[in-house]
């Protein structure tokens, strides 16, 4: 293989190695939730505060800090719930599939034992 061909092949492998993958299933919900939180923050910040001296300004600033902290916490909790719900759903699906397989295995085993019983009974009757 010539140098140019080797380079092409190598770059082909690089492109394959770097191929795009999918974002996690919950990513969209996570971002929209964050957008909503930031939107809520904006609208609250937009509320007019009475101009009555530094106490009101300080209280307003404190409120913004608290709201920010609350929003971040709520965002974190919401995200964790989304992730957990996704994992729970996956586990539930896998568990139900495993259960279906197990019950099928039990049914077949039972049916075959019953068949054998019938053959034994017949053999004994013919003795």
């Amino acid at each position: 293989m010539g140098d140019e061909e080797r380079t092409d092949e190598f770059e082909k492998q690089l492109k394959a190695a770097m191929a795009r993958g999918e974002a996690p299933a919950w990513f969209e919900a996570r971002v929209m939730n964050a957008v909503n939180q930031s939107g809520a923050l904006k609208s609250r910040q937009g509320m007019a505060l009475p101009h009555r001296g530094w106490r009101w300004v300080t209280a307003g600033a404190a409120a913004v800090v608290m709201i920010t902290a609350w929003n971040e916490w709520a965002h974190h909790i919401a995200l964790e719930h989304i992730k957990q719900a996704h994992m729970d759903a996956e586990e539930r699906e896998a568990g139900e599939a495993a259960k279906a397989k197990l019950l099928l295995a039990m049914k077949i085993t039972s049916a075959k034992l019953a068949e054998i019983q019938a053959k034994v009974d017949e053999a004994q009757r013919n003795d």
Partner: protein, 182 residues
């Protein structure tokens, strides 16, 4: 790449205005794979990649008015590239993974191509930040060096130099560990 066909504006024909919730959600849906993958290939950490990708879209939401019409994809790649680099620098993170330490694929009987590709990803993660992002943008997104230079704020010759040296390093390490690539 399996990205849906979009024009350079990064929007499909007939998409609702991006400043509406539905419009933004649509942009998110169309481009999340690209943004997340750039971050993931660079950071090699899914949780960090999610964080960076989310920040990028939040910034898009905030600054959409300032994004040039028809340049959403460019903007996303640029911002993702720079945010990922900043993320690493702030946390002084760097994948100090030598070839010998690079995680082995689960099964040695995996197809040779998959083995090679896994090692390539691990090796790219050992590059310094700027050359690493140059490689990600070039080989994941097929971006030309001139555009990479604009995105990352460096001269074109620097981008080309990063590409040349990174490729040479990768080839040398792969050849040493896996033999000639045919």
């Amino acid at each position: 790449m399996d990205a849906p066909a979009v024009n350079e504006s990064g929007t499909k024909e007939g998409v609702t205005a991006p400043d509406t919730r539905a419009g933004f959600a649509q942009l998110l849906r169309v481009h999340q794979a690209m943004v997340f993958s750039i971050a993931l290939h660079f950071l090699r950490d899914r949780s960090a990649a999610e964080e960076v990708a989310q920040d990028v879209f939040l910034q898009l939401h905030r600054s959409f008015d300032s994004v040039e019409p028809g340049r959403v994809v460019f903007w996303l790649r640029k911002v993702t590239g720079n945010r990922a680099i900043d993320y690493v620098r702030k946390r002084k993170l760097r994948a100090m993974v030598a070839l010998e330490d690079a995680p082995e694929p689960r099964s040695q009987s995996a197809q040779p191509d998959l083995l090679l590709q896994a090692r390539l990803r691990a090796l790219i993660a050992t590059l310094p930040e700027k050359p690493r992002m140059v490689m990600v943008l070039r080989y994941q997104e097929d971006v030309m060096p001139e555009e990479i230079a604009q995105m990352l704020g460096m001269p074109v010759r620097t981008v080309k130099s990063h590409l040349q040296r990174s490729l040479a390093m990768l080839r040398e390490k792969i050849d040493r560990s896996m033999g000639d690539i045919r």
